[in-house]
Every structure is written in C-alpha cells, then in structure tokens.
Symmetry: C2
Subunit: 328 residues, 2 copies
DNA sequence: CTGAAAGCGCTTACAG
DNA sequence: CTGAAAGCGCTTACAG
C-alpha cells in the first residue's frame, strides 16, 4: 500500500502540472488542455519510468463517468457462475455481452456482510439483478436515485416506479401453447404449485387465462401439493394438463403409468417453464433462452448509459422470442 | 447520476457534522468520535429517509483500506467462468473461497481496451492472475509497488522478485510417478510437445530428470511434432513413455494399435498433466486439483492482506498435494 | 498554449 | 464529548 506512484510524482518528474499529466495519460490532450509534443513525450516517459498506474477509484470519483463496470447482484445461495445454479445461463449471457461491449463484471455474491455488499455496487456504474429478493434498502434507494439498474425478469417493487427489467415474452409463448392445445380439445386443467408467487409466475398465469378466453378455451385451476388419486382423476379428466413448473410432472407420472395413459397420445401435457433436464419429449414446452435474456439485460443497461434519456424513463424492452418447441 | 445523496445531505438533515455521520454509519463511533445516542438515532433515521448509500469509491480512495474486492485477471480468449475454459475449475475454487472470506470478485476479461483494463485493478485491493501473459506494463508496475497480487501457477518475470504465486506440488507428483515406473523398468522415454515453454512445464521436466537421477533411472528426451513410424519405434523401445501433455497420446495410439501394444501391459505410459477427459485408465497420471489451487490463491491473497509483513517479502506457500491416481 | 485551484465524497487525525 | 479542516488521487472548468 505504501509506495504507490501518483499523478503528482509523474508531474514532478516531467516538470509539468498534474493537469497536463492527466490530459496526456487519458488521451484528452487537445480538448481543454494542450500539451506540446515534447512535454507529451516526457510525460509518457516519466509515467513509464515511475510505473504509474492510474487510481481508478479516484478517476471514477472525480469524473463520475461510466467506468464500464457492471455489478452482477445475486441473492441466491449458489453463485450464478456455478454450473448447476439455475442462474448460470443468465450469467453466461451477461458475461459474453459485457465483454462485447467492453464492460467488466463485479460479482456481488458474498453473504457475510449484507450491508457492505450492496454498498460496493457504487464502485460500478450500473447493475444487473438476478434473483428475487426485493427488500434491500440500499438497492431500492439507488433505484430511486436513478442508479442504472436492470432486473432479469419483470420485477414489481412497491413504491418504485419505472423499474428497468428485461423479460421473456411469456405472452406469445403461452398463446403459442394454447393454440396447439386447442387442436386437441377445449378444456384445460391448469396445475400450479403452492410455491412463492413471483412476477413471472403471475404473468404466465394471467396470460394463460387471458389467452384461453380469447381462444374460447375453458380453464380450471388447481393448486397441488401432494397428489391423491382422486385429485389426479379429476384433473386428468379434461385430457389436457398445463403445469406451471416442471417438477410437477413427477407427481403425475406414477398415475399416468397406473392408468396406462400415454402423454402426447391419451393425454396432453404442457409446461410453462424452460429448464428442461432432457427427455420429456412428449411435453409441450418452450426453449431455454436464458442466455439471450442475460445478454439482453446488458444491452439494456448499456443503452441506459449511453442514452440522454433520464434512467427513470422506461426504455423500450426488446422481447426474447420464447420459441415453442411444440410437436405438430 | 444526478440526485445521489451524499454524506453532506445526511449531515444537514440530522444537524450534525459529516464526521459524525461517517462514524455512525460505518460503526466507528466510539473510537475517535463519540456521538450521543440521540444524535446517533437521528443520523440513522436521516440516512434511511434520504436513502443514503455510501460511495464505495470515495471510501476506498480516502481510507485505502482493504475493500474486500479481488480482481481476477485472465489473459485468455475464453472467459474463465465458461465451463469449457481450461480455467473454469481454478475460477470456481477462487469464487467459493472468496465468498467464504467475504470477498467479492471483479472479473477483468474484456479485450477491447487493454489499457483501461489493467487500470481497473485499482478498484480492488488485490488480484489473482490466471493465464500466462507476462508483458503487461501496468501489472508489472503494480507488483513493484507492492500491490497484492497472486499468480495461479509459478511465475517468473524478469526484473521482478518476490512474486507471489501458488502452485501444484509437481515434485512429489512426478516422483510418485517415477517410483511406480521404476517397478517396470529403468529406461524412460520422455516425450514433450514443441509448444510454448511455461514455468509449469519447465518444473515438471526438471523434477523428472532430477528424480530419475536419484532413482537411477535413465531418461531420453524427445521433442515430437508429427510422429513417424521410425520415431515411434525408437521411442517405444524403452517400454516406458512419459508425456508432458495429454494430447500427445493421440499421436501414439494408432501405432500402439498397429503394433498390437497394450498400454499398461506391453508398454507403460504416464502423463504429467491433469485435465483428463475421461477414460484413459491405463495411463499413469494425477488428479485434477485445480479447484483447490484456485482456493489456495485466495487464501494466499487474504494472508497478504492481513499480515503485517510487507507484501514484498515472500510468504510461505502451502502446497497442494497432487495426489497420484496410479495403479498398483 | 499552460498552470493553479476547486472539488468529487468520503475518513481521520486534531483542536477545542 | 463534538466539529472544522486537511487530504486521498484524480479531472475539469477557468484564468492567464
């Protein structure tokens, strides 16, 4: 920590003002500050001889410029770049897009000091939020103050308007599935888990009901925890089952077997989720586009930086095609 | 960028000095600065009402403290957290150990602006280097100035002493392999590729020769690019082949087949590398301990931070056991 | 064409 | 027990 060389050292060695050093070394010479070629040369040589490395913290503090660092904030237990994290693909898309745009990433994942952690965001000039916690005071304050921040997935936080987020185009995906199903029949059982209701699950459900109405389909909702045989029979009566989560399939499979029902033939199933482990080809579903969404989050953040529009105004969010991999 | 609230705003609202705000908000009240409980309460309320978030860049600039951010620097094309990067496991170990110690990670991987990139290191208070480029002026300057920096893998940079690095214990691994081989015979062909000579490959080779001498084994060196039949026959005559890189196996396999030689029976092969794709069970080799090495790099960096020893003095480096997964 | 000065947002001696 | 002031290392108007 001791003998760091600063701009002052360079200035002294080159016999110029610090301003001149700053201008030359950050290629801003010629704007407000003009430096003669000889001095310029001398400054560069002095910097090299001394081993000067600019203090990025000081630069950022003073200039307030975009420092081309994006914080990636995750509330989850598993770090998002762990392959078996459900956020890995988001993260992977974020990283490659960030690199394309010349941004570096600050990963905020330590759980030790919650408070310090959200503070470190201020070392970056923008943040991408993965995960669903919404009660971080610092984060909410920063949003209010117009700190560029993009959520992956629609987010709704009470008291906060104009949140920036990118999301899948669930509407067209859900409608696509409904159109396929309409060819089979007009009654649909919609099975959802009891789990925590997030914005995406709210959206999917509302698009489903809205679409059903438009397409004259009849939907019956079921909340399922443990599945009894009676329940199964009631649900499967319609011949068409839509799940909101993949894992629900496991609850039903034993009964499909027991009653000799073949999915895609005797009964039709669709799932409104994307994280497919492989197999399950008889299920109607959509592709995993998480990488694309991660990449989109970065694009959105970059546009927030470059645009003259105040961050608080909502920028148009291009939608990811959630292309349905449905059978004909 | 506009309406960020600063410590000044909080101080004004709470009718105290900025010093008091700073002390209270960073839990340093009671040291040099004492604040009455009422004022303390008022400060906290004011900060909350205003939505104050400390500016980490300013804090770091002023205090110079350990800001608990580690830069992870990689020179490679593929980002280290890409699963198929050869650095993925190092990175994975770095990340989990960093989290354990309450450190966040700044990933420096963008290739657009090489200069800016190494500058951003200064936003962190330590760095871990993966990959082998050694001609980054900024990095070298920072090392000279005592910036805490740890290389993954032994590194040798001209003009720089007391580099910090963590490395595999190649010596014991290579000796372990030699001891196994000694049971088979006393003549060994050492085949290495023509590729770029890095410190690890230098180390492995020198341990191999040194160990052979101690164990009274005879080693003949071969540099191989395209393998001719004549060459193959010469090399395989010894009955024992040691490769420095896994991919060399592919050059030899066709000839093993042609001459009906079975590895582990008619001929013995060992490889001084760890990144095994699976299979190849007949080859003597060692385990992949990259994750452990990544984790060790973080431990080393943390000890650099906490120790009162000047960074320039070399701290003892605990070695990773490169456990040999050799057959009996 | 060049340099002196103010100030970014903090923290930390130091004086009262 | 509390506040005024200096200063971390930069950049950017501004005055000459």
């Amino acid at each position: 920590m001791s003998n760091r060389v600063t701009i002052k050292d360079v200035a002294e060695r080159a016999n110029v003002s610090r301003a001149a050093v700053s201008a030359v070394l950050s290629d801003k010479d010629g704007k407000n500050i003009r430096v003669s070629p000889e001095k310029k040369d001398e400054i560069i040589r002095a910097a090299r001889a001394l081993g000067y490395v600019p203090n990025a913290a000081a630069q950022y503090l003073k200039s307030g410029d975009n420092n081309h660092i994006i914080s990636v904030f995750s509330y989850e237990k598993v770090s998002p770049f762990n392959t078996n994290s459900e956020y890995y693909l988001f993260f992977s898309g974020i990283e490659s897009e960030a690199e394309k745009n010349g941004y570096d990433l600050l990963l905020l994942n330590s759980f030790a000091k919650e408070k310090k952690r959200s503070t470190r965001i201020r070392l970056s000039s923008g943040a991408i939020m993965i995960g669903v916690d919404r009660d971080d005071e610092h984060i909410n304050s920063l949003i209010k103050q117009g700190f560029p921040l993009v959520f992956v997935g629609r987010r709704d936080i009470k008291g906060l308007e104009n949140l920036h987020y990118v999301t899948f185009d669930y509407k067209s995906a859900v409608y696509g599935i409904l159109e396929k199903l309409k060819k089979i029949g007009s009654k649909i059982s919609y099975v959802s888990s009891d789990s925590y209701i997030s914005e995406p699950s709210i959206d999917k459900s509302s698009f489903l009901h809205q679409g059903a109405e438009e397409l004259c389909l009849e939907i019956t909702d079921y909340k399922v925890k443990d599945l009894s045989e009676a329940e199964f029979l009631k649900i499967s009566e319609s011949g068409i089952i839509v799940f909101d989560r993949i894992f629900l399939i496991d609850l039903f499979t034993p009964y499909f077997n027991k009653f000799d029902m073949e999915v895609g033939k005797d009964i039709f199933g669709a799932v409104l989720e994307d994280d497919w482990p492989g197999g399950h080809e008889d299920w109607l579903r959509w592709e995993n586009r998480r990488m694309e969404l991660g990449s989109l989050a970065v694009k959105h953040l970059v546009s927030l930086h470059s645009s003259s529009v105040l961050p608080n105004s909502l920028i148009d969010i291009p939608l990811i095609d959630a292309k349905s991999a449905l059978k004909d």
